[in-house]
């Protein structure tokens, strides 16, 4: 089994807060890996470390077997093989069309190819008739789905999702989860990391799940074991909704 992302003893501190403490884990090729935990547990920081947006204070991050961090030469080239949806969906202050073109232009795609790809993506999203409108005029659900498409339009091998369906109504959650499922089905070698505080979503979507608590990974297990017979009593309490935080 090929390891796509590996963290060894990683810690990250902000001023006087230990956001991530001595975390070691690995994410394998073709799996949907979930990081579950309450708000403030350090999940987003963990994802930012994986995406090389930040460097660890201690420990190491490896992508495709190569150790690197945010300051490494070539970190941005590696990030080009990722797709990421941030916790707060953010569209650029330009048209829907140009938002989708942006990652492709960064990768030097030719305009003809961009036009074809973006056109077909907008048809799938149902936003083709609004392609010329400023993306900031879209609704919350449309914005979130546009951000997801923008993160995956270049066919990344690794997709990192940070609370990608938070604050959406159930209909939009279903649409977005369907988009993620479609992305995974297209290519079985794709790897997805989902950070969420929603255990039902983790149960629906993930193959393997880690529980994060106060910056530490409490337990990592296959989905079935995680929900039916976890080793750590805190995981057990969390899945039963008994863990107070």
């Amino acid at each position: 089994m090929t390891v796509k992302i590996s963290l060894e003893g990683v810690s990250r501190r902000y001023k006087d807060v230990d956001a991530v403490r001595d975390v070691s884990l690995s994410v394998n090729e073709g799996e949907v890996f979930g990081v579950l935990g309450p708000s403030g547990a350090g999940k987003s920081t963990l994802l930012r470390l994986m995406d090389l947006l930040e460097s660890p204070d201690r420990g190491s991050v490896s992508v495709n077997g190569k150790q690197m961090d945010a300051s490494s030469i070539g970190a941005y080239e590696t990030r080009k093989t990722f797709g990421m949806v941030l916790q707060r969906p953010m569209v650029l202050n330009r048209s829907v069309w140009n938002n989708l073109c942006y990652p492709l232009r960064l990768r030097g795609w030719e305009e003809d190819r961009i036009e074809e790809k973006v056109g077909s993506e907008l048809h799938k999203l149902g936003l083709h008739d609004r392609r010329g409108k400023n993306a900031r005029t879209l609704s919350g659900g449309e914005t979130q789905r546009l951000c997801f498409s923008r993160a995956t339009i270049h066919n990344p091998q690794i997709l990192l999702l940070d609370e990608f369906a938070a604050n959406l109504d159930p209909a939009n959650v279903v649409l977005l989860e369907g988009q993620v499922a479609g992305f995974i089905e297209e290519d079985a070698s794709r790897t997805v990391v989902i950070v969420t505080h929603n255990m039902f979503q983790a149960k629906r979507m993930c193959d393997r799940i880690a529980l994060m608590w106060n910056g530490e990974i409490i337990e990592t297990a296959d989905k079935d074991k995680f929900f039916s017979s976890p080793d750590d009593p805190r995981t057990s309490a969390f899945v039963k909704g008994e863990l107070v935080y």
């Binding site: 930012r48 995406d51 947006l53 941005y76 080239e77 990030r79 080009k80 990722f82 990421m84 941030l86 707060r88 953010m90 650029l92 202050n93 330009r94 048209s95 140009n98 942006y102 990652p103 960064l106 990768r107 010329g132 400023n134 923008r150 993160a151 990192l160």
Partner: protein
């Protein structure tokens, strides 16, 4: 004053001097402000405070500085540009730079951190992410140029000191108003004031329309 030719010349020279000073000041101030606003370095808050303090830089001092450098005995005296529009542009550029730099610092700093993270997560290089953030701060950057232009089109001290208010050479609307007032030609001074106001408002209106344009 002969309305048809001299008033036109004075108005055009005002626009030329202030416009070029705004363009040069923005060409320096916008990248400088972006560099300061988007970088992390020791003493950043001191640099920001100093820049903001220079908003109050007295125009007459900017004129004095340029006068000192370009007078016959100054180190650049050999260039012979004192009492020419070029010297006026230099003095006014000095006034524009801190304003544009400071407003740019504020504008790019206010662009949401998630914009920077999003473009970096898409694989943008540092340069590409800086350019994208600057595009996001477009409204603030146009505002910077507007305020810079507003300061120099209405400025009289520096223009008078280094330009000398020479008829047909360096006379601009503000120095002409001062002269006409001194000569007791209040009606003319008021008329020139009206022209100055119209010119300033027209330029501001144009920039405002540019600012309001929906980004696509």
């Amino acid at each position: 004053m002969v309305i048809n030719s001299e008033l036109l010349d004075v108005t055009l020279l005002s626009l030329y001097v202030s416009g070029v000073a705004t363009i040069i000041g923005s060409a320096i101030g916008i990248p400088l402000g972006a560099l300061i606003g988007l970088s992390e370095f020791g003493g950043k808050s001191v640099v920001k405070t100093l820049t903001y303090t220079l908003y109050g830089f007295p125009p007459v001092l900017a004129g004095l500085f340029i006068y000192y450098l370009f007078s016959r005995s100054g180190i650049f005296g050999f260039m012979g540009i004192l009492f020419t529009p070029t010297a006026m542009i230099l003095a006014e550029t000095l006034l524009v730079i801190p304003l544009v730099t400071g407003i740019t610092i504020t504008s790019v700093s206010e662009v949401d951190r998630s914009v920077k993270d999003t473009v970096r997560s898409m694989g943008a290089t540092h340069r590409q992410s800086v350019l994208t953030v600057m595009k996001e701060a477009w409204v603030g950057l146009v505002m910077a140029a507007m305020i810079g232009f507003g300061r120099v089109i209405a400025e009289v001290g520096a223009a008078y000191l280094v330009g000398g208010n020479i008829r047909g050479e360096t006379r601009v609307l503000t120095t002409a108003i001062m002269l006409e007032t001194r000569m007791g030609n209040f009606a003319w001074a008021m008329a020139l004031g009206g022209v100055l106001l119209a010119v300033a408002l027209s330029v501001f209106l144009f920039l405002r329309l540019l600012q309001e344009k929906e980004m696509l």
